[in-house]
């Protein structure tokens, strides 16, 4: 029911709002409009935006007050949504402006902190834009979903973090590799491997649950071993390529010098002899380093790990079939070995 008090409040609010709006307009727009150049002035844009926001705020308040007595009224909710939308629109504008300011005016540009703040603002904006449109009972579900999504995004962000953190060096190394820098190729494969190990690689170690837990874990482990093997092999291969590339460069350079001294190979066969011996020497130097010995050991080890894990997968797959598995036979071999040893020892004692 409408009351006298409602009516008085309404009129007070109308006058008050109009006064505030007029004051704001006077304080913001009028001083800036005296100079044409002020349109290019960021402070002008800020003050105009502030005015718009305040105008929006005042009007929202105004309608909130006048419609306070009829919250269930569809008119109220329409206006409410309208102003919420306006608010979202302004938020988006603020985000865009923030991006403009930081992207073009901040040096060095801190992409990570910008992305964090942008993400937060984006969630806020989406939340305030769509949430009010939904029926009230659904709004909680919507809000909770956003929270879950936020959590998911944080986790995803952590997962991708090594890749985003290293995107610049990876790009740089990749470009250098394309330009023929053999060192960059080695570093590139190393960085790829490190990124994998600190991101996707962790997926394979996630504990699994339920009846088929063991089955899934064995499969995941085998997949992880395979990827590790490929990564290590890539690193190994790139190390070999690096030597091949550098040796070819040396050969070209030396050949030019030999040409100056008239000592160059006289035929292709002579060149071939010179070529393979230079390569052999270069690889021998590489093979003699501790780093290579360790890398070779890693390659062998990762290959062996894959074999072991894949053997486990196969054993699991075939365990339902009516024939003995490798582990069964190994157990049998051990028993036979121990028994044979006992028999020999006893025979010697008898002799």
């Amino acid at each position: 029911m409408y009351t006298q008090k409602h009516y008085e409040n309404f009129m007070e609010n109308v006058f008050d709002s109009q006064k505030k709006m007029f004051d704001m307009w006077k304080n913001t727009v009028v001083p800036c409009s005296t100079e044409k150049e002020s349109l290019k002035d960021p402070s002008f844009i800020d003050s105009s935006l502030e005015m718009m926001n305040k105008w929006n705020e005042v009007n929202s308040k105004f309608f909130e007050n006048i419609m306070d007595f009829s919250k269930e009224n569809p008119v109220y909710s329409t206006y409410d949504k309208m102003f919420s939308s306006m608010n979202s629109y302004n938020t988006l504008f603020n985000m865009w402006k923030d991006f403009q300011d930081k992207a073009f005016n901040t040096n060095p540009f801190d992409m990570n902190s910008f992305m964090d703040s942008w993400k937060k603002q984006y969630f806020d904006m989406v939340g305030t834009t769509f949430s009010p449109v939904l029926p009230q009972k659904v709004q909680k579900l919507y809000k909770d979903s956003i929270d879950i999504y936020k959590s998911h995004m944080t986790n995803a962000s952590n997962l991708f973090k090594p890749w985003t953190d290293n995107s610049a060096p990876l790009n740089e190394l990749y470009t250098k590799t394309l330009m023929g820098d053999a060192n960059a190729f080695v570093e590139f494969t190393k960085l790829l491997k490190e990124n994998y190990e600190s991101s996707y690689g962790k997926f394979f170690d996630i504990p699994t649950l339920g009846l088929n837990r063991n089955y899934f874990e064995v499969n995941l482990k085998s997949m992880e071993s395979y990827i590790n093997y490929i990564n290590t092999t890539n690193e190994f291969t790139s190390t070999l390529y690096k030597v091949a590339y550098e040796t070819m460069e040396n050969i070209i350079s030396e050949s030019l010098n030999m040409g100056k001294e008239n000592k160059e190979p006289q035929s292709f066969r002579e060149f071939y002899e010179y070529w393979w011996r230079k390569n052999e020497e270069a690889y021998n130097n590489l093979f003699n380093t501790d780093d290579f010995a360790k890398l070779l050991s890693h390659v062998v080890d990762s290959g062996v790990n894959f074999k072991k894990d894949f053997d486990n997968v196969l054993e699991q797959q075939f365990s339902f079939l009516p024939f003995p598995l490798k582990s069964d036979l190994n157990s049998l071999y051990k028993t036979v070995y121990d028994l044979k040893k006992q028999v020999r020892d006893l025979s010697k004692k008898i002799d």
Binding site: G259, F268, R269, W276, N288, S297, V300, D301, K307
Partner: protein, 355 residues
């Protein structure tokens, strides 16, 4: 064609055409090559145990040494390298010189042999073979001739059973694994052999071979075959080459537990030199080697550094000991022309002098 080199293009084209001509004709020559059998010197099986066979070669001269000689080959590759072909057989040469030769053939281990240890090989198979020879010949001692890893085993055996060994000959034998030479020694120190043994049980011979090929990749995987084209029309050379090739890739698997101890205790721990090696319940002390010792190394050995072999002479108590070397490689010790002209005579004479 080669803008940065003053290569004689005409000569290069001639070479190219000539090589291709040889290659295309090579098929015809290859079809005529007879794959002569290695390991053809007459012999009998004297004793067997599991997959191990002890062969006794038939004497090839009237006067034979009193002390039989047992050759202990490595577990890697096959023992018939010492009898690779009739005209270059070290065995044949030793027999002709008057030695009485036995040789151990380790066979091809299968998964069922995966748990055999160094203790089983040395205190078991070698000791049983020696006992069999002693009993059969009614003698107290044998000459022991160890090749490569077989030399390491023979040295260990001689230190554990000095009373059964009259003379010890070691050839291209790794003893000191702490030397800073040789790729195998360097790589072996970083190898996770436990993981490999756990995975394979018996390590495939091909896996081992790929490691050996990596030691000299361009020479062993490329140049060796490029040069072959030059000789493809020469049946003798091709026959010898194919026989060697067959032997190189005739690689038995390696028994896991034995390899585990060999790598961990020797390559990594260098326990033989430190006097810390144990086989079963027996401690190995090289100082127990008191019999005459002939230690031979190859000056161009890319598998066993000469300094690793040479170390043995300083670790034994023998007063009659000799360190000899030849300007050959690891395999050249047995298949080169020097093996016939210098090395086999040296072995025979040294042993006969101490018979």
């Amino acid at each position: 064609m080669f803008p940065y080199l003053n290569i004689d293009v005409e000569k290069s084209i001639d070479e190219f055409i000539e090589t291709n001509k040889k290659l295309s004709n090579g098929v015809k020559y290859m079809m005529d090559i007879k794959d002569l059998e290695s390991d053809s010197t007459p012999k009998d099986i004297s004793y067997t145990e599991d997959k191990m066979k002890l062969y006794h070669y038939k004497s090839q001269c009237e006067k034979v040494s009193k002390t039989p000689t047992l050759i202990v080959y490595a577990l890697v590759n096959r023992q018939y390298m010492m009898d690779i072909q009739p005209d270059r057989s070290v065995i044949k040469k030793l027999l002709e010189s008057g030695l009485d030769i036995y040789i151990i053939d380790w066979g091809y281990p299968k998964q069922e042999d995966m748990y055999l240890t160094m203790d089983d090989y040395i205190n078991g198979y070698i000791n049983n073979a020696v006992d069999h020879i002693l009993k059969t010949n009614n003698v107290d001692k044998v000459n022991l001739m160890g090749i490569c890893q077989g030399g390491t085993f023979s040295s260990i055996y001689s230190s554990l059973y000095p009373e059964k060994v009259k003379n010890l000959v070691t050839m291209v034998t790794p003893i000191d694994f702490g030397v800073d030479e040789g790729l195998l020694f360097k790589w072996g120190k970083h190898l996770n052999i436990d993981n490999m043994v756990d995975a394979y049980g018996v390590l495939p011979g091909d896996l081992m071979n790929s490691g050996y090929l990596m030691l000299k990749p361009f020479q062993l995987m490329l140049d060796k075959y490029v040069n072959l084209v030059d000789n493809i029309h020469k049946p003798d050379i091709m026959t010898n080459f194919i026989r060697m090739e067959k032997w190189i890739f005739d690689s038995p698997g390696q028994v896991g537990e034995t390899l585990r101890q060999f790598v961990n205790d020797l390559y990594k721990g260098n326990k033989l030199v430190k006097g810390e090696l144990k086989l079963g319940d027996k401690e190995v002390n090289l100082k127990n080697i008191t019999m005459p010792l002939l230690n031979i190394y190859a000056e161009y050995d890319h598998l066993v550094p000469p300094s690793s072999s040479a170390a043995l002479n300083d670790l034994v108590s023998s007063t009659d000991k000799e360190l000899a070397s030849f300007s050959v490689g690891h395999i050249g010790m047995y298949v080169s022309s020097k093996s016939q002209k210098e090395i086999a005579p040296k072995l025979a004479n040294w042993l006969l002098e101490r018979d």
